[in-house]
């Protein structure tokens, strides 16, 4: 579903991703962990071209998104993204946030878009907040709306960029619960997170990144209980 080949990314002279190769299969939940500055967020942001790619290829369902002829806007409708800082549109209500892109990009009818938006709000447990503005929501509620907003485009893949890192501890659970439900429904997911419990419970595979490389990858139990690399061991000993 996603194929990453020899991906490199530099910011000026600073090479953040040095040589990334990965293959994410349909319905797989891949969790990316690693110390800050390891390039895991940049890696995720390369998958929908929020970062320009310096070298290498990223293929989404066989389409090379680094190819200049690829319509990236079309690809992005199939790759949803959830951000650490939620990035809800503050001038629009919850319902409008969710409906905006289906209306403007996919040209869905208003009544259908609304129906779908309400259905998604039910799914994330926020039906009663449809007409609220983002400012009046808690962090956990905001993030659940952001997930609903991404799902409204009916993506085939969901990218999560540290979705719980900006939340108060008591709100982490409600967001993870929505993500678990998505995983159970068979959504293909790439999740950058510090929630090791989530990685172990939901992840099909864990990638450990450090210094711009994927240092180690394995099924969660193996990687957490029996890490092979020194750097993986050092990182896990600090966070577990």
């Amino acid at each position: 579903m996603i194929k990453v080949e020899k991906l490199k990314k530099s910011f000026g002279a600073n090479e953040v991703l040095k040589d990334i190769n990965a293959h994410i299969k349909q319905q797989e939940v891949v969790v990316v962990i690693g110390p800050s500055g390891s390039g895991k967020s940049t890696f995720l942001r390369c998958l929908n071209l929020l970062e320009t790619i310096t070298a290498g290829h990223v293929l989404i369902e066989g389409v090379d998104i680094t190819d200049k002829k690829t319509d990236i806007n079309k690809i992005r409708t199939e790759v949803g993204m959830v951000f650490q800082q939620f990035n809800l549109f503050p001038h629009k209500t919850v319902l409008e946030n969710i409906m905006l892109s289906p209306l403007k990009v996919k040209k869905v009818e208003v009544s259908k878009a609304k129906e779908k938006a309400l259905e998604l709000l039910r799914k994330v447990g926020l039906e009663d907040k449809a007409n609220a503005y983002p400012d009046s929501l808690s962090g956990g509620q905001k993030q659940r709306v952001a997930i609903a907003r991404a799902l409204a485009m009916q993506p085939k893949i969901m990218l999560f960029d540290e979705p719980t890192s900006a939340l108060d501890p008591e709100m982490v659970g409600e967001v993870l619960e929505v993500m678990k439900q998505l995983a159970r429904e068979g959504m293909t997911m790439v999740v950058v997170t510090h929630e090791m419990g989530f990685a172990r419970e939901v992840g099909d595979r864990v990638l450990f990144m450090d210094g711009g490389y994927i240092v180690e990858e394995n099924v969660p139990n193996e990687l957490f209980d029996n890490p092979q690399h020194e750097r993986t061991k050092a990182f896990l000993s600090k966070v577990l």
């Binding site: 806007n73 992005r76 949803g80 951000f83 403007k104 990009v105 991404a150």
Partner: protein, 218 residues
Amino acid sequence: MDFRFDLIMEYLPFFLRGTLYTIGISLLGVIFGTALGLLIGLGKMMKNKLLAFPFLLYISFFRGTPFIVQIFIIHFGVVPAIIGTTNGIAAGIIGLSLNSAAYIAEIFRAGIQSIDRGQMEAARSLGMTHTQAMRHVILPQAFKRMIPPLGNEFIVLLKESAITALVTVPEIMYWGRAMQGKYYRVWEPYLTAAVIYFILTLTISFLLSRLEKRLATE
């Protein structure tokens, strides 16, 4: 000191008609200046430095030279070159529009750049084009933040419009000068002009603060 209210009363119809001209050319200046300013502001923000340069030059020129110089160039040079004769009102509207566009462009740029980068990223990640993201996500938020500086600019523009009296636009100050010339009196014409301008700027301030409050509660 004798203060001749009767002279003011005599000139009041002219002042009132002048007020309409002041409001008219200022309003047109604001409308054209805002439209042009948005384009120039977006132009200056283009990533290609070469393409952005003309817009940078435009802003620098109009902010870096006195308005009276600009309006004389337009009145005695630009307008005759285009329509073959001078036309004070045309020169006044063009001058105010071009001048305010430079300031408004900077207000737009600052407003747009004050919006968190994550907003654009979220919009783009949902499949919107850059233009769609600007239109539906960035600009509506930026406009709200631009209202106070835009309000200031409108007030400045209204006051600057007094300079168009020097290119024969029959606005408030034009009649003030005419009255001074006729009666050799200073206080009556210019205090009258000052009071009218003051009422106009106070009105704008009042309307803007109402608008700000309404948007704040939305």
